[in-house]
Amino acid sequence: MNLAGIFGLAFVILFFGLMIILAAAGRNRPGRQLREIPAFARLRRAVGLAVEAGTRLHVSVGRGALTGLQSAAAFMGLSMLSRIARAASISDRPPIATSGDGSLSILSQDTLRGAYQTLGAEGQYDFSSGQLAGLTPFSYAVGTIPIIHDEQISANVLIGHFGSEVALINDAAEQSGSLTVAGTDNLPGQAVLYATAQEPLIGEEVFAGGAYLGAGLIHEASLRAQDLLRMLLVIFIITAALLRLFGLDSLILDLLAGFLP
């Protein structure tokens, strides 16, 4: 195993360990507050209002392929879909999910079905509530726009992998007067979301949805583990930069290589 592999595996194990420890600590000391993210506060309100007003929520999980690097954002979108479907299950008009990938479309249908089954409300499930909107970036955006206009949508949650085409979806949401909470793992997409979404989620906020929508202790623990490890990485990067500045980087690498088999 090379040095990068050892560090990578150690980092994943450390992350896993921290999540377990922080989840156990959270169980013993409940009620610890997370920092306020306005997007999630507005989303919680929007879910409540949609249930009361009989309007629909739209969750779009993007077009990230599950076999690619974008799968994490897509899984986060599915997790949000599950939470929202549970929260809005008593509504007359259940949430609708759109995606731009075949596998994601199946998983979004399965997520909705699973959420209703858990609540004993299988009758709420309809196959058309999990739709494949299109297979190319623009066909996906254009396929999503009619849903926003025609389905009495009061709030749109866009979490997954999106590119700049997401601006067309946000523009349609703005025109129909519905709220948009949106986040993506794609950097140009984030810049577009900052300009076009009413409540953009920037950086790792995309992955924080579960913790803010009450998905459980492990979501909160993973968020706190992320914060701790980010600090650790910042210290590591600054130390590495200083070592490089003083010409000590090669010495450290030689020392580390000496420990390897």
């Binding site: 195993m1 090379n2 592999g5 990578g8 595996l9 994943v12 992350f15 896993f16 999540m19 599950l66 690097l69 954002a73 899984f75 986060m76 997790s79 990938d101 075949g102 596998s103 479309s105 199946i106 998983l107 249908q109 399965d110 997520t111 079905r113 699973g114 196959f127 058309s128 739709q131 494949l132 909107a133 297979l135 190319t136 623009f138 955006a141 254009v142 025609d150 700049s164 085409e165 601006a167 067309l168 523009d171 793992d185 950097l187 577009v192 900052y194 300009a195 076009t196 920037i202 950086g203 790792e204 995309v206 992955f207 579960g210 979501h219 993973s222 968020l223 583990a225 490890l229 980010r230």
Partner: protein, 205 residues
């Protein structure tokens, strides 16, 4: 029994792929490649299922005479024609390439052009929606980078703007992007680990 079995299979496969990524042992590597190949084949089938879902949703819209039913009818006809032509002549044949070059590319290019207008308008609306220091910095940066990239009317290239653009693109933009990527990477690892622990189950488990 469905839940524990699907969860156990998902966790086991996830762990094998993860270990195969870090530990260069031949059996693990081969297993990882094989499982990923299976995933790619399943994704291709999922694509077909997705297209069937698309057809069903639009067919119901046509059948029930919904307001946008005409567009659904156009979609179904276009889908049928494309499938028939590409299926009969092959994906690299002249008729298939014609459909791609003279229908899909122009339509998507038009949408790209529309996107530039939407983005310009969104930039102006941003000041109305969220008037704060960050929004002003965002818009000023966009303006400087745009003016520094495109040749200006009657002036041509402006060396000062080019210099400022290069400074922005090479230093603060790269630093900011790395910070964001770091956060996204940590979030992605956390999501992956939650799935490996069975806390998140986006597979019907």
């Amino acid at each position: 029994m469905r839940t524990p079995i699907s969860t156990a299979v998902a966790i086991l496969v996830g762990l094998l792929i993860l270990l195969g990524y870090f530990i260069p042992l031949e059996p693990l590597l081969s297993l990882r490649v094989m499982l990923l190949q299976w995933a790619v084949i399943l994704a291709a089938f999922a694509l077909l299922v997705g297209v069937v879902n698309l057809f069903r949703v639009h067919w119901i819209k046509v059948k029930t005479g919904q307001p946008a039913g005409f567009y659904s009818f156009v979609l179904i006809v276009a889908l049928g024609l494309t499938l028939a032509i590409v299926g009969y002549y092959g994906p690299t044949s002249a008729p298939s390439v014609w459909i791609f070059s003279y229908i899909q590319v122009p339509v998507e290019s038009s949408l790209m052009a529309l996107l530039t207008i939407v983005l310009a308008y969104a930039g102006v609306r941003l000041l109305h929606r969220r008037l704060n220091a960050l929004s002003i910095v965002f818009l000023l940066t966009v303006l400087v980078v745009l003016l520094g990239t495109a040749p200006l009317l009657f002036i041509g290239e402006a060396p000062v703007l080019n210099l400022i653009r290069d400074l922005i693109v090479q230093i603060p933009a790269v630093a900011g992007a790395r910070g964001l990527l770091l956060g996204i990477a940590l979030g992605a690892i956390a999501t992956g680990l939650r799935i490996l622990m069975g806390a998140d189950r986006p597979y019907g488990g």
